[in-house]
């Protein structure tokens, strides 16, 4: 079981801020494939990975990152702080 969080337009497209996901994915990319296959809204949100960023356990990483031992994965668009 892993906590999956969504922010900004990713959250709006999927319609949820967070959910618990039962997954066998070993990498972020595999988790994305599982989510995409679920429903149209997920497929839409994950249509272009270049437009997305990912954090595993609150550290920015890339889509090849392993999920072993991860508790929390977050998907969001490029950040606009400052």
């Amino acid at each position: 079981m892993i906590d999956v969080l969504y922010f900004a337009w990713v959250r709006e497209r999927i319609g949820l801020p967070r959910e618990q996901v039962e997954t066998r994915a070993t990498t972020v990319a595999e988790l994305v494939e599982e989510l995409r296959a679920r429903e149209e809204r997920y497929a839409l949100a994950f249509a272009d990975l270049k437009a997305l960023r990912v954090a595993v356990d609150q550290d920015l990483t890339d889509f090849d990152a392993p999920l072993a031992g991860a508790r929390e994965v977050a998907f969001f668009p490029p950040m606009t702080g400052g």
Partner: protein, 147 residues
Amino acid sequence: MRIVVQEPPFDLGAEAAAFATGRRDMGAIVTFSGVVRDDPAKPLRQMVIEHYPGMTERALHKIAAEAQARWSLGDVLVIHRFGAMHPGEMIMMVATAAKHRKDAFEAAEYLMDYLKSRAPFWKKELAADGESWVAARDEDEDALSRW
């Protein structure tokens, strides 16, 4: 180092004064503040900033610690708001204290460059004609390469 992530407004003058007080060995204090900007061509009603509680504080600490490692700084302050704000309101501020101005200015610029694209905040603009997420600019990402 002081990192604050909060919803309510902050008092720039009071924060800058408190930051500068009692630092007899620091010859330079630089402050920068970011303000919600209106566009006369497309009046902005409100800006709403979303963030990632937990990761935000963690990312800001990491960025500030990196600045302290790179420049000789007496102290660093970062305040960043989230939630709804109106044009003219302060979004955030950074302050740096150093013996000399070069370190203070450069560290403040570094903090701003990294804060823009490595701290998990997302801005949404609510205008008369609808709402839209502010897109990250390529220049902001490119700005990181100079460090």
